[in-house]
Symmetry: C2
């Protein structure tokens, strides 16, 4: 079990780092254990960070460790970068069972291996029982943006196609189901996955991808509002084109949620020049994390910063950013 | 006051980011607000991270914001790197007064400006009241190691001099005094400061600095044990040469602490070839953060991994790593 002395900077802290963390995560850059990791680098740097406070720590399809790696890897991938290195900083609540920490660290290793990144630096703090909720994780990530790639939320242009990589809402509903003890006919798993490989396939067939985002907190609706706002364009979605699993649709109906606002952790939305859209979708469908990829809308003439939805019955409604707080501590 | 919806990924989250964070921290790289920051980079990359859980958030001489910038900047400097970019990830407890958050963010900006780094990316999460203790901060940092510089805890060699940049224990005792409501005759301030400028002066006169560490948690004793262990050498300190403020010495006597184990946040210990030691000390003394720099010991023949202290009365004692937990949540 985690004790305050594990965060002391003394012997127990060293033992925790060496026996639990470096033991599971080790690689030649991490193993040096100086105050900073160092490694050769050349090119355009991408740098990002996210903290993870998901509750519960373990949920159907993943855990906070896998989430912390994938979330940060995906933020790097969304600017077109190839992820290289990540950091891992843990805030542990006194009393956390060591077995849970070890399970999370194993997940970190597994997800990092899958994503092709190395954990090269880290930190561990311990707070008293009651001063944190079990375990909070922060990862920062460093990647390299290939020459000629310029992906930004500000680059969407009228005429571009909007591509979604797969079904929406899986992560949010999977976490909620575990937290609230809900059960569905078919078990729903979080989609948490590293998307850098998928993005590399997309950039291979279309280096001029304009914008990408992974629609996490706030869901697809909030993410597209961000892009529409930053690019000063209007985006029109076709409701029928947006893939939603039956279990997610059912849960959302029961709970009064709109899947457009529910978090994803293994999906991306991309804005690409329309002439490349079919090719990009084909490349995505050939990748395990893009099998359900589809063109779900387009960038159109219209009020800047606005997202519209053409519904199944032919109506149009405005899709605003999330207001309030749909699902706290979903990531 | 911070509400759960500030962490939602929706409108209130966007407002918090734009009106509080980007407003205070803005720069051309941060302002883009894509999923990752991007910037040109070339050379050897240094990368580090630390989370900060100090209690209280505001203490004599600093606050968690200044601490979070300086701690990470210093970890970069300790491998000889010039700090360039940092990330800022906040975990907020619901109910935290916005004025406190704003004060911390102002401190971040001020410390970053002093250290010559830009906050280029960030994240904000909110957890329910009682699920965190007010505010936890994580910073990661990226820097560039100049060609020809190779500073590592594993590089100390017999004959090298051990240099300390100033008085020890100031930070630990300052935070403790605020936390416990202790008062001393003269107010003691934390030494929290960015050391990258000092390090650049040191490397200018001696590019062959072997090892550097900032003795934070665990204090000078634990830090030198780490270096002795990694380098496989014995380090001998001269007690009389180690600068300690009277207020710190007095507080330590009263509380039963040894200043060698008390945390610092604006000090460094360096191992340099003995022939360069006087020159390095002179350069340090010319810098505001190195005025009390002194040679405090040397690397000697002896048991690998051992730190010894020659006391004022001529005895020698073994200085071990910290055992147990002297001062929880000091950083």
């Amino acid at each position: 079990m985690v004790l305050m002395a594990h965060g002391s900077g003394g012997k127990m802290a060293r033992d925790l780092v060496e026996k639990v963390l470096v033991h599971a995560l080790g690689n030649p850059i991490l193993d040096v254990l100086d105050d900073s990791a160092t490694a050769p680098f050349s090119g355009r740097l991408a740098f990002t960070t996210d903290s993870y406070v998901v509750r519960p720590l373990f949920f159907p399809g993943g855990d906070i460790g896998r989430l912390a790696v994938c979330g940060t890897v995906n933020d790097l991938a969304m600017v077109g970068a190839r992820p290289l290195y990540i950091s891992l900083a843990l805030i542990l609540e006194e009393g956390l069972p060591l077995a849970e920490l070890e399970a999370v660290v194993r997940s970190v290793r597994q997800a990092a291996d899958e994503a092709g990144v190395q954990v090269v630096t880290g930190d561990t703090k311990v707070v008293e029982k009651g001063a944190a909720d079990r375990l909070f994780v922060n990862t920062a990530g460093v990647g390299v943006v290939p020459d000629g790639v310029c992906v930004s939320g500000a680059n969407a242009r009228v005429g571009d196609a909007v591509i979604l990589s797969g079904t929406i809402g899986d992560h949010g509903i999977a976490v909620l189901s575990r937290r609230e003890g809900l059960s569905f006919e078919t078990e729903l798993l979080s989609d948490v996955a590293p998307l850098a490989g998928l993005v590399q396939e997309m950039l291979r067939v279309c280096p001029s991808v304009r914008a990408m985002r992974d629609p996490t907190r706030g869901g697809l609706a909030s993410t597209l509002n961000e892009i529409a706002g930053k690019s000063g364009v209007c985006i029109r979605l076709r409701e029928q084109a947006i893939p939603v699993k039956d279990a997610v649709r059912g849960a959302c109906e029961m709970l009064g949620f709109d899947p457009l606002y529910v978090a994803n952790e293994g999906k991306l939305v991309a804005i690409v020049p329309s002439g490349h859209a079919e090719q990009v979708v084909a490349a995505m469908r050939a990748h395990p994390y893009g099998r359900d990829a589809a063109i779900v809308g387009e960038v159109v003439e219209g009020p800047a910063g606005r997202v519209l939805l053409s519904t199944a019955i032919g109506a149009t409604r405005v899709v605003d950013m999330l207001t309030g707080d749909l699902l706290p501590r979903i990531c």
